[in-house]
Symmetry: C2
Subunit: 311 residues, 2 copies
Amino acid sequence: MTANRLFSRTARGSVSSIGERALIGSIRRWLGPASPRAPAGIGDDCAVLPPPRGRELLTVDPVAYGIHFDDRIPARAAGAKLLKRNLSDIAAMGGRPRAAVVALALDGRVSIEWLAEFYRGLARESRLRGVPVVGGDVTLLPGSFVATLALTGEATGRILTRTGSRAGDWIYVTGAVGRSVRTRHHYLFEPRLAEGAWLARRKGVRAMIDVSDGLAKDLAALTPKGAVPAVYAARLPRRAGATVREALCDGEDYELAFSVAPGAGCAALEKAWRRGFPRTRLTSIGRFVRTGAVPPDAIPLGRFRGYEHFR
Amino acid sequence: MTANRLFSRTARGSVSSIGERALIGSIRRWLGPASPRAPAGIGDDCAVLPPPRGRELLTVDPVAYGIHFDDRIPARAAGAKLLKRNLSDIAAMGGRPRAAVVALALDGRVSIEWLAEFYRGLARESRLRGVPVVGGDVTLLPGSFVATLALTGEATGRILTRTGSRAGDWIYVTGAVGRSVRTRHHYLFEPRLAEGAWLARRKGVRAMIDVSDGLAKDLAALTPKGAVPAVYAARLPRRAGATVREALCDGEDYELAFSVAPGAGCAALEKAWRRGFPRTRLTSIGRFVRTGAVPPDAIPLGRFRGYEHFR
């Protein structure tokens, strides 16, 4: 299996052996039905799309070699992860994804075989989610590989932002957190699109975020002024073997964290959730409380930092 | 002047000295009014935008260090170029740009001062064109710098694609071509947004493309089946000092090439153009003719290759 190896060991197997024009032709072939023809897809100066129904959502996230993937994971998984990372951002607003564009910056020594698998993984995820890849760009970048995907989406109903929580709100998190890399969850995860859309329709759900930089850091972004999260170690849905620190700081969980108004009926919400998403765990991990009113048994979250690049 | 130098000579002046969170705060400050607040801008999982009027346009293009810019050009110019490259793609469809997201992948040794200037250049162009930067991402990428911008636009009227030309059509090009790098045109250019929108409203204009990979290669993409471009060397609007080969192959012209139906009244079009765009040169460089009917004095375009990465 050489498809896991980003850099080709032979000149003949590298993208520089075929040139840009042939490479773009290959990419279109690898994407297959995931990539419609111009003007709705690749092949013109821009892609042309029908307008979204309702407001538009727009996000961008890359996968970089050595940062978001490496030779230990299959090329197909890296390609799928590129789309899934962005889908998780659309999910966190309760939206529906529409179409993607992909800019590739790569060293000429990148293996054609690896890249084919990367695009096949992306194409599979694209078809699965009904999100066509409608355009892109290829550029030379000596020594590196980074693929950047921008995703447009739409929201026909309510949009859940990070703001809107209040002191007293319950805090929920989907799935489990921590040890994302060691458990391979960082590329095996399923973006919570259906769950996010469901939560946006649910009264009492006030604010939501995609947990990707570690729960401690992402909860901070969800916290209203004058309040702090009171979260309990015993309640944290930890992924297999994860310590409390790993659950709070590791990042790449791609779960949803959200707040629920105290009078909204948490029992009813949890019951409806189990009916709608019997295979997705949902955990109440604590509440937002006024600053200074943190119960002594709550985790001192200020001591935990999330994932930060350049640190 | 150290602002031209991408990599900092001191650890204290590098982005790794401040970490991701502080870097994102700085980016928002550098962008200033070019970047609205969340949910319409940076600060949530996605940006939320009103739906476009009419069909949506979507494109993506990067600037990579050593490829699209280097230490010989001001950091501000590199930042402006990032948006302008994408604006040129919207111009080539006759559309109007709406909003941008920017993903940054960079080495920790990148100079904060350089990056500040890069974003100030981007912000200035963003305000000038009324195209807010509504979101982004920052990731570590050892040894490299690549900024990728995705741009959404709208088209309320006709969209000009690359297809639709016929044998017999006249071929026009705006501005001048060739020697883009030596003349600094590759970052000083003005995207032809007003011109593109005007051409899309003009009857008889059939197809259009952004000239960015060299006129020879881009004309090939505009050429209908069964035809070839008959273009004349004497008519080529060459940039200062450019040879015919440079005019055809250099790339990074960011001009518009388009075709006009033979019965559409070229004289009237040229007259209206001079009234509307007195400072933008417009040149009829030849026509599309049936394969085999190429006049002997036309340029044998098949012998000229445009710009290709990995070659």
